[in-house]
């Protein structure tokens, strides 16, 4: 077991697009990160799904590396972060939002497949590293952030929140 009090910094920065697709057949949503200069917009069949392009946003992916012990927390399974506005007490994320003290916010780490058909989501190690990294920034400010995996949402497709992606760039005068 690693006893290091990790000092995380961002590494392996990759700039690209967060691409969101939907399935015509079942309404599921899928997202992936594309490092291509132009995000793919093709429709295609995959098993029982027929995916179509819903949109894309300029985004960034990164991993975390510990300065002290050299450990790398790979965050390949994180496609984005969403600040949750959920207040549904019947949703685990909404319940967490309602429990936070003033100024503390809940962020949802978004994995690739919002329907979680295999039960997989962002790894617990990745979630722990993200919490440690961002809360290190906030030490002494009297507030914190709580990062949780999107599998805790009742329905990530209907969840209220703000995904951290680049929007509004074409509106700048």
């Amino acid at each position: 077991m690693n006893s290091c009090r990790h000092e995380w910094f961002m590494c392996n920065l990759r700039h690209g697009f967060l691409v969101v697709e939907g399935c015509w057949e079942c309404g599921a949503r899928l997202s992936f990160f594309s490092a291509e200069p132009v995000p793919p917009i093709d429709e295609y069949r995959e098993g029982r799904h027929f995916w179509f392009y819903m949109g894309s946003f300029q985004s960034v992916k990164f991993d975390l590396e510990c300065r002290a012990c050299g450990m790398i927390a790979g965050l390949d399974d994180v496609n984005g972060l969403m600040l949750s506005d959920c207040n549904d007490p019947n949703c685990q994320v909404g319940a967490l939002v309602n429990q936070q003290s003033s100024g503390s916010l809940v962020y949802v780490a978004l994995c690739a497949d919002s329907t979680h058909p295999m039960g997989r989501c962002v790894s617990s190690g990745g979630i722990e590293a993200l919490n440690q990294y961002f809360n290190r920034n906030l030490e002494g400010l009297g507030r914190k952030v709580v990062v949780v995996p999107c599998v805790l949402c009742n329905s990530i497709d209907k969840c209220r929140g703000t995904v951290i992606v680049d929007v509004g760039l074409t509106e700048i005068e």
């Binding site: 920034n137 952030v145 951290i164």
Partner: protein, 109 residues
């Protein structure tokens, strides 16, 4: 330098109730993907952007204050979110370069 002192010396307009604290640096960007990877704790963030994603990213890097330049105004939900986090939200009629020059004249870099 504290936020309140900076506000007084630069004529910034505060548009929320903020937590006054020391500022330690400046970062200029209009992209949240850049802010989240490069802005530093206690920094002044100068931007043209006014959307909620900006506050969500600024909170994660613990920016002290955000200055929205060229007289642009954020919507009420953006102001409310900034207030919840304690991040100071300000507007300036100046453009990015002119405002940044003011900061360097005050010794901030």
């Amino acid at each position: 330098m504290r936020i309140s002192e900076l506000q007084e010396k630069t004529g910034l307009k505060a548009i929320n109730e903020y937590r006054d604290r020391e500022v330690e640096g400046v970062y200029i960007s209009d992209m949240v993907s850049d802010i989240i990877t490069s802005a530093k704790r206690n920094s002044i963030l100068i931007t043209l952007q006014t959307h909620k994603s900006l506050i969500a990213a600024a909170n994660l890097v613990a920016a002290a204050m955000i200055v929205i330049v060229k007289g642009r105004k954020p919507s009420d939900d953006v102001v409310e979110l900034a207030t919840r986090t304690g991040i100071g939200l300000f507007t300036s009629d100046l453009d990015t370069w002119t405002f940044a020059k003011r900061l360097t004249q005050l010794g901030l870099e």
